[in-house]
Symmetry: C2
Amino acid sequence: MQNNEHLFLRAAAGESTERPPVWLMRQAGRILPQYRALRSNFPDFKAFVKTPEAAAEATVQPVDELGVDAAIIFSDILVVPEAMGLNYEMIESKGPKFPTVIRSQHDVDALITGEDAASKLQYVYDALRLTSKLLNGRVPLIGFAGAPWTLLAYMVEGGGSKTFSEARRFLYTNPVAAHALLQKITDTTIVYLNAQVQAGAQLVQVFDSWAGELTPEQYRTFAVPYLQQICNGVTGVPKTVFAKGAWFALEDLAELPCQVVGLDWNITPAFARARLGENMVMQGNFDPCALYDSPKSIETGVHEMIRQFGPGKHIVNLGHGVYPDTPLDGVRAFVDAVKNYRY
Amino acid sequence: MQNNEHLFLRAAAGESTERPPVWLMRQAGRILPQYRALRSNFPDFKAFVKTPEAAAEATVQPVDELGVDAAIIFSDILVVPEAMGLNYEMIESKGPKFPTVIRSQHDVDALITGEDAASKLQYVYDALRLTSKLLNGRVPLIGFAGAPWTLLAYMVEGGGSKTFSEARRFLYTNPVAAHALLQKITDTTIVYLNAQVQAGAQLVQVFDSWAGELTPEQYRTFAVPYLQQICNGVTGVPKTVFAKGAWFALEDLAELPCQVVGLDWNITPAFARARLGENMVMQGNFDPCALYDSPKSIETGVHEMIRQFGPGKHIVNLGHGVYPDTPLDGVRAFVDAVKNYRY
C-alpha cells in the first residue's frame, strides 16, 4: 500500500506511472453509509465541518472503504467567506444561503482578509493534522479552496443559482469593487492554502465551480489573474485547478503555474491536450451519471477513457463531484476499474 | 418598416444585409409591463398559454414596444410532452413540475405521438394565425419547439434540475427506452412544427436547452440524429437550432440541414465559425447579464460583438433568454445599438 502515496504524487508531478491514480471529488460524504452514520451525530453540516475529529474521520473513510489513491480533506469552500466576515447557513437539501450579501464597495471594505481571516480557520488546519496522523502515509492528503470568482459568486448572489445573474451583474456594473473583493479573497486564500500545506496537505486543489458562467473575456479579466496569484503564492506542493465549464479558457489555464488541470465530462482528452500543452497533467473526467450503470459497463467506460487520455500525465476522477445518491457498487466499480488497469 | 421582414429572413437565408437583424429569446414575457398587465388576467401561466388571443397579443408586444426585427410565438416547449399524455404544472417562480415521470419502456409505450399528439395543440396554431393577422407583415413570425433530448430531460427528471442526473441516468441504464421516447417526441415535433408553418410560422427554432449536460458522445447518439430528422422533416421554412452549452458539438451541428445555429455567450464567433463552416448563419450571443449595465456600455459591447461576428451571416440575439428582471432601458439599448449599426 505504501506505494499509493507515490503513485498519486508521481502522477501529479508528471512522472510516468504503471496506471493512473484515482480519487473522486466529494468522495468523503453522503455516498458512504459510514459518513451518514457519523454525520447523524451532528445537528447540522457546519457543526460537522468545524469538528476536526469528525472531519478527519470522514476524510479517511473513503480510503478505507473504497481504496482510493488520495484523501481530500472534508470541508467546504464557503468557510473562507465566513472567515472573512460573511456568515452563511447550510440549508439541508437546498444548499448554502448568505443572509447578508456583498453589493457595494462599502460591503467589500468591511470584510477582513489575509492572515486575519485565515487565522479563523484553525479547525481546518487541526483536521488536516489529525487526518495526516490517521492516514499515516497510506495515501497523500489533498487540501483545497474555492477559486476567487466562485466565492465572489456566492457572496454576491447569496447562494446557489441557475444563472448567477446577480454576481455577473456585479462584474459589469461595479468592476472596481469586484476586483477589490477578488483581491481580498485571493489574499485570504493564499494564507489559507499555505497553512493547509503546513498542516499536512500534500497537494492543493482550487475549485472554480462557476467558471462556465462567464464569457471568455470575463474569465480572463476576473478569474485568471487571481488563480495566477494563488498558484504563485502557494509554495511547496503541486497545485490543481479545476475550472468547471471553462473549456474556452484552457489556453489561459495552460499558462498557470500549476501542475494539474481538472476537466469536466464535456471536454475530450484530445481537445484539452491540444490546448494545455504536453506537460500539464489532466485530471478527470468520467461522467458522474455513468456510475448509475452496471459495474461491467463502468469498467468498459473507464478503460476506454484511460486509453483516450493516453499513458501518463493523467489522474482519474469524475468530471464533477460524485452525486450523493450514487450506488456504492458503482463507485467501487469505478475505482477498481482504474486499479486493475495497466498502461 | 416593411423591409424588416425581409431583413430577418434575408439574413437567415445567408444573404448579405446592411446590418444584422435583432430579436431576443424570451422577448415576449415578463420584461414588458404590458405583458405583466395582460398576464394578471389569468389564474396561471398555462391558462395564458392556452388562450390564443392572449398568446398572440404577448407575441406582438415586443414588436410594438421594442422594435425587434422578428416576433416569436408566445408558448412553452412543454406543451409537447403534455400533448403526448404527460401533464405538467407550472409552479410560480419555481418552474415546471411533472407529477408523473417517464422511467421505463412501459411508460414510453403509454405516450401518444405524431398526428395524434400534435392535433391537441390547436391552440398554438390558432395563436399563430391570430398573430400573423396582428403583425400584418410588419416582421416575420418565428415558431418553435423543444429539442427531443431537452424534452426527454424534463419528462424523465420531472422538472428543472441542477444536474439532470435522473434523465442522464436513463440514457445509461435504459438506452432502448430512451431512443423510443426520443423517436416519439421527434415524430410529434415534426407534425407540430409543420402545422406551425401552415399556421404562419416563417422560421422555426428548436431549443436544446440542456445540450450542455451531455458528453460529446451522448450528444452524437441521443440528440443529433433526432435534430437531423426534425430539420429534414420540417419543410418550407428556414430552421434554427439552438443547443445551449453544446460548444463541443458544433461540428455535428454544422452537418444538420438547418440554416441558423444559435450560440451562447461562452463561445467566441471565431471558434464557432471555424467549426460551423462558412455558410451557416450564426445567431447570438450577447451575455444577458450585460443588459444590466449602462446603455452606453451596452451599445459599445453590442457593436464590438457585431464586429467580431463580421459582416453577414449573423442574427443578433442574446446567448440565452433575457432575464425576467432586466431593466427595459437595457433591452432598448441592446435593440437600438443593433439598429443604428451599419456594416
